[in-house]
Amino acid sequence: MKEYSTPILQLHGWRRNLRILLIAAVAVLFLAPALWMISSSLKPDYEIFATPPTLWPISPRWQNYSEALTSLPFGRFAINTMIIALGSIVGHLLSCSIVAYGFARLQAPGKGFFFILMLSTLMLPYPVTMVPLFIIYSKLGLINSFTPLILPTFFGNALYIFLLRQSFKQIPLDLEDAARMDGAGTFQVLMNVILPLSRPALAIVAIFTFQAAWNDFLGPLIFLHNQSLYTLQLGLSLFRGAYNVQWAYLMAASLVVTLPVIAIFFFAQKSFIEGVGFTGTKI
């Protein structure tokens, strides 16, 4: 992504220092909740509500982490979440890339109509289909299974199809033609030319799908009632259900649960932020 700096912010002298001060202050504001979370996760019980309050625990209690994670079967929850997340990634990568190729490269009557139709589903509120889907899945005996959460991903997702289509359109047609000259059919062209050249966009789809599946709450809440099938997010909310909230445990567990997403974020920061920017370029 090309960088232009808006001249409005080319400041000098005291105004420049003022801006740096401002940025630092806002950064503190944004970091505070996370730091407070870490600090609280290490506090022993008696220090959580201590007067005068402490910003950092006097003697950090690392056992909070192991105790929080064993007080509920978090290992089981992690495996469940992983199955859903990985299944969803496979589903989205397969379905969205095929559909996106159709929209990016193939001509057919009615194409424009279907494209607009697909984009308009982005505006559809989930609650409208939530009730009937619950009824359908319960008639099929699929409540308390991961099917309702994974199956739909094999049928594409409007946002990711749009994102991949934008990326596929950037690939020069000549490359595709060359492959066709060598006798490649549409499927081979997709597999051998388009997809290898679209790795960044595919990575964005995989990352966003992972994040969405990892953080989803309403879906698992509706379809998974058996505690052995709970996801991490449902597990976290169990802490909340208790009358006496054990804040240190709750903070420790929340941090651990968020860790994989944070790790991926730092690992793929550029594509993460740019991917978000990219989805908004033009609709």
Binding site: M1, Y4, S5, T6, P7, I8, L9, Q10, L22, I23, A27, F30, A32, P33, A34, W36, M37, F49, P53, S95, V99, L106, Q107, A108, F114, L124, P125, Y126, P127, V128, M130, V131, P132, F134, I135, I136, F154, R180, M181, G185, T186, N215, F217, L218, L221, Q233, S237, F239, R240, S254, I262, F265, F266, Q269, I273, V276, G277, F278, G280, K282
Partner: protein, 321 residues
């Protein structure tokens, strides 16, 4: 079987072909390509019918019934919709959702823009600041809410602790019906990073020459911001606005986890009320009717926003489709 617009089937002697042969060949090529197109989009098309159109039809039918899933559904016509009009909890949930959206969306639009302006110019360490501002958005879901639940705790939370240093006794935030909804609005600033990223993308696609030309004509920074940056950013603003309205209207997790709609129903979001009617009271018909009202509101707002586009959204190099 899945062939596209291949260029491999040219006959060896093109000069021997007459016009009708060529048009025939072209037509079959086109038909093949059209067929390939529909095969390619079939996963989405089938999914659209199975997971969207079908359920929506069913939902509409259910909304005209009384159904608890245990006994047979009872056709009641428009009764559910009529009941909604006099259900104080439903009216409350509409009010809460509208108030939350009206506060959240403008804050998100302005806050994200300010953050983007802070970290747009390149200076040493700007990457770190972009990361810091964006990072909280990966905390979505329950963890995001849980952090703020603790931040806003009246006795041990950081907010009231900080206020205490200045001699202010903080309110009871999520436990006080007068403050709970505004506390939920307040904690949303932690998610501004998403719109910041969208703004950054939009700002970086504004051609630098425009600023150079404006500077030569003697326009100062603020003039440039209001005459170049803001107008050319209007498609991005529009995108964030529409997206933000649609998602905010469907807010659920924050209220479900932080307050469960309380205290005194002051944070009873519409989707939370739908969830309760459907999955706690098993009033499937009533819940379906409510979801259609939600759909109608979101559609109306979206159409209004789309219509408003022509008054304030500018596309560089002509209007987009």
């Amino acid at each position: 079987m899945w062939v596209g617009c291949t260029g491999t089937h040219y006959p060896p002697y093109p000069h021997l072909l007459n016009d009708s042969d060529i048009s025939l060949a072209l037509r079959s090529l086109h038909r093949n390509e059209a067929l390939s197109f529909y095969i390619a989009i079939s996963p989405w098309l089938v999914g659209f019918l199975l997971f969207t159109v079908g359920p929506m039809m069913i939902s509409l039918l259910i909304s005209f019934t009384d159904w608890d899933l245990l006994t047979a559904p009872l056709w009641v016509g428009l009764d559910n919709y009529r009941d909604l009009a006099t259900d104080p909890l439903f009216i409350q949930s509409i009010k809460v959702t509208l108030a939350y959206t009206a506060a959240y969306v403008p804050l998100d639009l302005v806050g994200g823009l300010l953050l983007a302006l802070l970290v747009l110019p390149r200076f040493k360490g700007v990457g770190a600041f972009r990361t810091i501002f964006y990072m909280p958005t990966v905390f979505s879901g329950v963890a995001f809410v849980v952090v703020w639940l603790w931040m806003l705790n009246p006795n041990g939370g950081l907010i009231n602790l900080t206020l205490g240093w200045f001699g202010i006794v903080g309110p009871r935030w999520l436990l006080d019906p007068n403050y709970a909804l505004w506390a939920l609005v307040m904690m949303s600033f932690w998610g501004w990073g998403r719109s910041m990223a969208l703004y950054l993308g939009g700002m970086q696609s504004i051609p630098g020459e425009l600023y150079e030309a404006a500077a030569m004509d003697g326009a100062d920074s603020f003039r440039q911001f209001f005459t170049i940056t803001l107008p050319l950013l209007s498609p991005t603003i529009f995108f964030i606005l529409v997206l933000s309205v649609i998602t905010t209207f469907q807010s659920f997790t924050s209220a479900f986890v932080a307050t469960n709609g309380g205290p005194l129903d002051s944070t009873l979001f519409l989707v939370l009320y739908i969830y309760r009617q459907a999955f706690e009271f098993f009033n499937m018909g009533y819940a379906a009717a409510m979801s259609w009202v939600l759909f109608a509101i979101i559609m109306t707002l979206t159409v209004l926003l789309m219509r408003s586009q022509k008054f304030w959204v500018f596309y560089l190099g002509g209007r987009s489709e």
